[in-house]
Symmetry: C2
Subunit: 305 residues, 2 copies
């Protein structure tokens, strides 16, 4: 399984006719994650042909409207579509009060459990983990409490080298599990078959870092080091650095500096201020520092590799 990121919306503040506020759909190891949920996200999910029922985990970076106003409608639609499985929502303290107040006053009987995971730590922490994936917070510096999220595939099983294995009748199917995990095989005469002779390297585990609204923040570099794809906000160009600082945002140049320092594979910019119409100015500025910088393309899945 490869990992795919579909950016559903990436504009800042105000939705327009042709662009949507922040929301992303991440498929990784057959898990389906929604990251942020601005107004209109459920329609963008439909356009992306994403199956609502597959989403079990929603990660909200911060409680500004352009990152969360699509949540009540999405949850209400889950109900109307007959959902029964729980939905897990990760986000800042307060998200539960907001949603439950809305659900109570709008008579939204959910029919399935909404499990809230409210966050208030200022340190990076693992907030989700299963056999294949780990999700950690990336504490950011915005006007309100805000986290980015780091999605990492765990190390994968080594591939069995069947041509080699078949030479040893002693190795049975039930031994494959240990081989995939890297263990050597000891023959009955005590001879040790080194794992690397029986298996090949595993498929690379990929990682994706989502860095929502934040000021330039070098403390995130060790957390996101070496990720395959980094989405980082770049609300302004660097000539508006003061405005960026004041409003709690980053410039394209700064986002590129973060990408370079962290040695990421690829940088995708987003959350551009509505004052810019030709978005190529962002990549132009950022590529001076980090060549592998790209603009987001809504609804077009990007393979993370």
């Amino acid at each position: 399984m490869s990992a795919h990121l579909t950016i559903l919306g990436y504009n800042s503040a105000i939705p327009t006719v042709n662009s949507s506020p922040t929301a992303q759909f991440l498929e990784m190891e057959e898990r389906h994650f929604l990251i942020d949920c601005g107004e209109g996200t459920q329609v963008q999910l439909r356009k992306a042909k994403a199956r609502f029922s597959k989403i079990n985990h929603i990660f909200i970076s911060h409680l500004h409207g352009d990152h969360c106003f699509g949540l009540p409608g999405l949850i209400a639609s889950f109900r109307l579509l007959g959902r029964e499985t729980p939905i897990h929502i990760y986000g800042p303290k307060g998200i539960q009060e907001m949603l439950e107040t809305i659900f109570r006053l709008t008579d939204t009987h959910k029919g399935f459990e909404v499990v809230y995971h409210e966050l208030d730590s200022k340190k990076s922490e693992v907030i989700y983990e299963d056999s294949r994936i780990e999700v950690s917070t990336i504490p950011l510096d915005h006007r309100v409490y805000c986290n980015g999220y780091l999605f990492r595939e765990k190390p994968k099983d080594r591939h069995l080298n069947m041509a080699e294995i078949s030479k040893y009748p002693e190795i049975e199917t039930c031994d494959y599990h240990n081989l995939k995990r890297g263990k050597d095989f000891v023959l009955s005469d005590g001879y040790v078959l080194k794992n690397e002779t029986l298996t090949n390297d595993p498929t690379k585990s990929v990682s994706y870092a989502f860095c929502s609204d934040t000021r330039y923040l070098e403390s995130i570099v060790p957390i996101i080091e070496g990720v395959d794809v980094l989405y980082h906000e770049a609300t302004f160009l660097h000539d508006l650095k003061k405005m960026a600082d004041y409003t709690g945002h980053t410039t394209a140049l700064e986002a590129a500096r973060i990408a370079r320092k962290a040695g990421v594979g690829k940088l995708i910019l987003g959350h551009f201020s509505n004052r810019y119409h030709d978005l190529s100015v962002f990549t132009k500025e950022a590529r001076e520092v980090f060549a592998e910088t790209y603009l987001p393309v809504a609804l077009q899945p990007v393979e993370i590799k």
Copy 2:
């Protein structure tokens, strides 16, 4: 000034790629009213090229998500667009708690006043009035407290018949006001000039009734009697009458009966269940009872006359 209704969205429950939940933009006597505000309404307003700053009054029928989930985002956008004038919101008790909770938790500093007019009466009442317009509630019967809204232009000034007036030098400009209001003119010799010889009938005052989610309800007939345009929900066809009753909705046939009993000029149906794809079945059923029945056309202004 004529009155124009722009239906921004009319589908029920779940927004889709091609249709939006309930919201309408009504221009009447240079007032600009928003009626209901499902998710995505602000984008629909942009598509309709409506100027956000002109909207000073928002009327919400009931607190189901498909009629109000667009409000938080719209208010937040008002702020980002620099609004300073107050916005008046009319809706069921609870709307203030819902919106203020959201604004507090999402750090939405409004910068302008939001004036709440919470409704809980089960009788029709005038909730807005100025020199030219009157808005009343139309109590409906849904699963939750719900009102339709009746918008009425007040009787207009009579038109001056200048050809006739100019024959009497005694009539001065300052007398025109009384003439327009229908008063006779008394000449200095005591001779009474009847108003109808000096003026012509005023332009007809128009009216529009918005009847959101409701069961078939004959008690609304006297309230909406003779309106020029009636929008009435018709979620189901009449073969699903039991389903309509159970869910608090009306059938197309029933909406047509209401229109006929009330002697309205024109009926526009809406709020169709997503189970119907060919909407012409609704007008087909309704026209058997009330010929002047039409389907809504999103974003296409309808003149109310």
